[in-house]
Symmetry: C3
Subunit: 267 residues, 3 copies
């Protein structure tokens, strides 16, 4: 309940109970936009504090195109990809308050060790460790180190392995090897995140880091795994705020290409 | 007066007053290159300390192609775009000592919340807050949250909106919406920075973050807003030092293309 | 001897001396993967701790394609390029324990002031300063500020200067000037790093920062300076872990192009 504005209590006195409940649910969605307080931001830029309230808390996070849970996953992924532990503190808390489980937070960090780099994950581990301790999250709530993996789609995996062997084999045998195991034969098959959420994390990290060359493959995979076109478009809008307008505008045409090529295949 | 070398006092005794004044003005431009002291840098690399003095303090910052005020704006923008709060500390002080007002520092951070991402701006807010407190900058010196905006050029805005709607509308309606308001209808029309300085900040951030795909549009806008070709070229030189040679060399051909296309239009 | 697992002592009792020595040498190569302890990582993700042990310590760093010394140089360069001082702490120690001298650490930071940006180097200076103090590294061990430079290959330099003048001269005279001096006439000619190691540092930084447009020139230079195709490919594998899979996959085709174009020239 921390990190959400829950000021609706007073309305209990003023109005009937149902109305109060409605207000509270709405209020619960209102995240504050930063680890910094509104007063901190005001001390440097009253305008920035206003944009944070009006555009981020009251508008972006209220939009239907992406659930609050998805938004907090997307935001976490972007902050880890861009190595911003200060704000990550706040948004891991937002995620836990929006229905993301500690096990999922753990697994998102694990996933991004590969897609944002090991050092970015280490930085996220430091942040998450403190939050887990403060919230009493214990080892039992965390995904197992070596669980039973999801069943592998052998055909999809063979195609992936063949493409990588052909393109990367003559250049970096090491990269081919590690991309098979641990990346695709282990990490991607772990059950602690749904394939759709794993893809959502990956695409968010790629957009936030300006990795346009890698978005196409992973957005297709994300949509095969259940991400809708509307959700993909809204990830780009979320990126505008959390990774800057230039990254959103660099990603948009790549996302557009994927959408068009999938439409033409469906027809 | 901190962060500038003002060692010219002795010459008062040696020479006439006018000469001393000249010397002092020149000396005032000599910034030190880092939050770290020369001794700190020497302890790891005497060569690096020498390059900092010879190439950055005594050469780069003395060049006529860009004023010290512009250089400090460019450098601030690059440090915020690359999220380097330690060095930002030093260069906000340099900026304030070079004629950038606290209101402009505030507005540069606000602007970069959009062009470098909200988390980068939060990190800059923390740094600026401490400096503002130390220098006694109060709320009255800061730009208003909701001032009277600059008059909008309806034709330019219509063209921008049409292009974005056409290219991004089918992909991310959210991005289209937020790009109109708050980005172009609010932020860009705020009077706390001149359009030329706002563009200078934007272009500097794009170059520093390696966002080549977005440089063309914004450099054209910057030059429409009064940035000269010589200044644009010198921003690239400044980027070599503050964002690394690779970013400068990636930006150079994009800048060249804009310059050539504007020349061919003029002919 | 810190930061390496040296648990082979017990085998002295169990086995003969030669065997113990073998074990110890092998054990000495086993780096731990982070500034964070295994317990820190376990507290957030047991899986991540396992990947760190199995994939990074026991596999990646044991591969023959790149020596431990080279790997630690590559990793340092990537961490500086991505401005990750926390992990850099650990990997400077790993480098010093793997045969990289303090003078080389110093010069790698100096080199990356140009290729990763001055602020990234300042951040690395802070980290290295503390390590140098703790290990008793004194000024005498550091490369001189202005040593006798390596002899310049006038022909190669003329070609470089001509190309830059032609491409960048009309855009940014400042960039042309500083690229000649201090970059190529001073920094690259300093004897504190071999040209091959200097190129290895440069290529690693470019891959880690996703600077694909600049990889071609510098990888060719690296291979002219003695880097093998196998080593180049393994730098890409190292990048997968320390700069994330997307950067490795963005670099791979560029590396492939260089390899193919050099092969076709040889034929």
């Amino acid at each position: 309940m921390k990190n959400v504005i829950a000021a609706a209590a007073l309305s209990l006195v003023l109005s009937d109970f149902a109305y109060a409940n409605e207000q509270r649910d709405e209020a619960m969605m209102k995240i504050t936009p930063s680890t910094l307080t509104d007063a901190d931001i005001q001390a440097v830029s009253p305008a920035l504090a206003r944009f944070g309230r009006e555009a981020i808390s009251n508008d972006l996070w209220q939009r239907d195109a992406l659930s609050a849970r998805d938004r907090s996953i997307v935001t976490m992924a972007m902050l880890i990809a861009r190595n911003q532990p200060e704000e990550l503190k706040h948004y891991i808390a937002v995620a836990l308050d929006s229905g993301v489980t500690p096990a999922e937070v753990s697994e998102i960090i694990t996933h991004l060790a590969f897609y944002a780099g090991w050092p970015n994950a280490m930085s996220a581990v430091s942040v998450a460790k403190a939050i887990f301790e403060a919230r009493g999250v214990t080892a039992e709530s965390l995904p197992a180190a070596s669980p039973t993996l999801l069943p592998l789609n052998e055909q999809v995996e063979k195609q992936r392995a063949d493409t990588v062997e052909k393109n990367v084999g003559p250049i970096s045998p090491g990269l081919v090897k590690f991309t098979a195991d641990p990346l695709f034969l282990d990490l991607w098959q772990r059950p602690a995140l749904t394939p759709r959420d794993r893809s959502l994390v990956t695409v968010s990290a790629l957009i936030a880091a300006g990795q346009s060359a890698q978005i196409g493959y992973h957005l297709n995979r994300a949509m095969d795994n259940g991400l809708s076109a509307e959700e993909a478009g809204e990830v780009v809008a979320q990126a505008a705020f959390y990774a800057g307008w230039p990254n959103a505008f660099t990603a948009a045409p790549v996302v557009g290409e994927v959408l068009r090529s999938r439409e033409s295949k469906t027809e």
